[in-house]
Amino acid sequence: MSEDRKLEGRKIRIRVPVLARVEGEGALDLSIENGMLSELRLEIYEPPRFFEQFLIGNPAQDVIDRVARICGICPVAYQMSAVQALEAIYGVEPSLWAQAMRRVMYCGEWLQSHSLHIHLLAAPDFFGVNSAAELARLDAHAVRRGLRLQGLGNALIALFGGRSVHPVGVRVGGFHSAPSLVDVSAVTERLREARTEADELLRWVASWSLPDDNQDFTSLALRHPGEYPILRGRLVSDAGHDLPIDQFDTHMREFQAPHSTALHALLDDKPYLVGPLARLNLNADCLPDELRALLAEVGLELPSRNMFHSALARAAEIWLAVNEALSILQDYAVPDSPYVEHQPCEGEGVGCTEAPRGVLWHRYTTDANGNVKTARIVPPTSQNQARIEDDLRQSLLRLGLDKPEDELRLHGEKVIRNYDPCISCATHFLRLRVVRS
């Protein structure tokens, strides 16, 4: 057999065992035929946990406590989207105090989740190491700063929820309890000190050598006049969408792909991006002047088409979360009541908030007792799944399919991790299988 024929008939099957530093498990399947990408799939094995079913027949507080268990990293986001939908049904509007404090609590989750991602999950990719523990040997200062910011995020959540994972404070109409002045001033003090650290963190991330990979994609995020979006707004995109949240499903369609237990979502039949970079792209004008100046100084032009700017977007949102929480808590006063009363009733309602990973949309219908009749939850990672596959296709082609498997794998992992996918119910790991023929 000639050398050529050998190559032609070559079929290589590679299993690179594990993609670490993602939340949960998935797999990446690549087939390369005659130097062309013939198949590319991001698999998600999340064993079905049937959360929507667990909500049926249950009263509001059980719904709030249960949806938290979908994700240990963003339980606040799940609780907030749910409580918002239920409040829409019961016709109850929380006090201005409760609305402001929910924003602070949510800032805590952004701070916690983004810091965890930047330092424990993403940064090692850009320093040629495998873990934050290894990174700490190279740059202990940066890792310790990151863990402190993460801890501060947890403290903010615990201030209103008792603990940062599956907090217990949120209820229909507001909160179960209001934190004391003493507890608030202790956290405020830490926030004040963290301002400099947030500044340094942003500059540090800007110094990473992020790949320059401009792509064409649609960003989708909430938008509300005069504020950076967290808990309210209309759903807007740079493809011209401007929808009230209860109209989202007239443009967004979910479908099931054979290789994934997470439903995929498309916006008018096209992949789209949700998350920090999408938020920043659509809401740059709502950033405080100081942050805008800082971003200009480090050279981030918005909107950005470079997906790898997501890391910088997370750092910017950490800056925002620290400063925003501080400015709201500075004038903290204990309210007469942390919640307003409500009467559960029949109806239909939608809730939509910006989870750390992007738009998190809930819709419920309730019976005459206010108990849940139907539930639908559209999480950010399933919305990003089609975009991630699109990105992988483009990035790997740009990298060159003739590159060694190791390099293809590493770049593929980097691309996927950049989205901070939360495959939180999953069991195994991301495995890369390259089949060449």
């Binding site: 670490a20 993602v22 049937f50 069991t427």
Partner: protein
């Protein structure tokens, strides 16, 4: 690598990731922990060697797919001590609620093409498949619990098994009893301590995150709830906690569902 430090691994099964966060949320203590022990496998933290032999394997999550059953055997084979962390690993977790229903119907309700979904008929705790040396309860477990367990084993002693009731902790904190003062259906009298009596201190009823306490009397608590005017169905719902498959809560749920139906 030759080392005298004890080694640990953290494995994940079907879960929300929240109990692994007990490690990842330790802050700067996480770096100290990593100095004290040799972390051989912890995928989310970027340390990978699933088949490494370790002194302690921490396991998060419940068994819900046929592959899980094979993988847990491997985890057990490579670990001297196996410690489950959290409600999913110790009692099946919230997702074990599907054991009470027809899971196949549920798959059809959530997924358009149910034939793609491989799952076991019943969600199982780790103990159902392999011997477990120690169980840390909680939904979620917290950093204090996991660090205390590691510390105890570093000293060569068994970790302390906190089986007391939330009620006791609540009294020590001098929180106002939500059941006595406000007539709320609180699970504090039957739930294991560990959270610090969080819910009562927030003015709301305990909902059972830490599972059943030692010598708990769920029958009596159910009767008390009936006395508060709750219908049987609502009493059953109260026992459908994140540890709904722990025998005490499973029996209580069955009892009140039975009376309802």
């Amino acid at each position: 690598m030759a080392t005298s430090k004890p080694s640990i691994a953290v494995h994940k099964f079907s879960s929300c990731d929240g109990c692994q966060l007990a490690f990842l949320n330790l802050g700067e203590d996480l770096l100290q922990l990593m100095e004290l022990v040799d972390v051989r496998h912890f995928a989310e933290a970027g340390i990978l060697d699933e088949e490494a032999d370790v002194d302690i394997a921490f396991v998060e999550g419940s068994l819900s797919t046929p592959q899980d059953l094979e993988r847990i055997q491997q985890v057990r084979a490579h670990a001297k001590y196996l410690i489950t962390i959290g409600a999913c690993a110790t009692a099946g977790g919230l997702q074990a609620l599907r054991n009470l229903a027809d899971a196949k119907e549920w798959v059809a309700a959530v997924y358009a093409q149910p034939e793609y979904i491989a799952s076991l008929d019943k969600v199982q705790p780790i103990r159902a498949a392999v011997p477990v040396d120690f169980e840390l309860w909680g939904c979620p477990v917290n950093g204090r619990q996991v660090v205390a367990a590691v510390r105890a084993l570093l000293f060569g002693v068994a970790p302390i098994d906190a089986k007391d009731k939330v009620c006791m902790e609540c009294k020590r904190q001098q929180a106002v009893c939500v059941m006595v003062a406000r007539g709320e259906a609180c699970l504090g009298p039957v739930t294991r301590t560990g959270c610090g009596a969080l819910c009562p201190s927030f003015g709301r009823a305990c909902y059972g995150c830490y599972g059943a306490a030692e010598n708990a009397n769920a029958v009596s608590l159910g009767m008390r709830m009936q006395g508060l005017g709750l219908p049987a169905e609502q009493i059953a719902q109260h026992f459908e906690t994140t540890t709904n498959q722990s025998p005490l809560f499973a029996q209580a749920t069955a009892r009140w569902r039975g009376q309802h139906g």
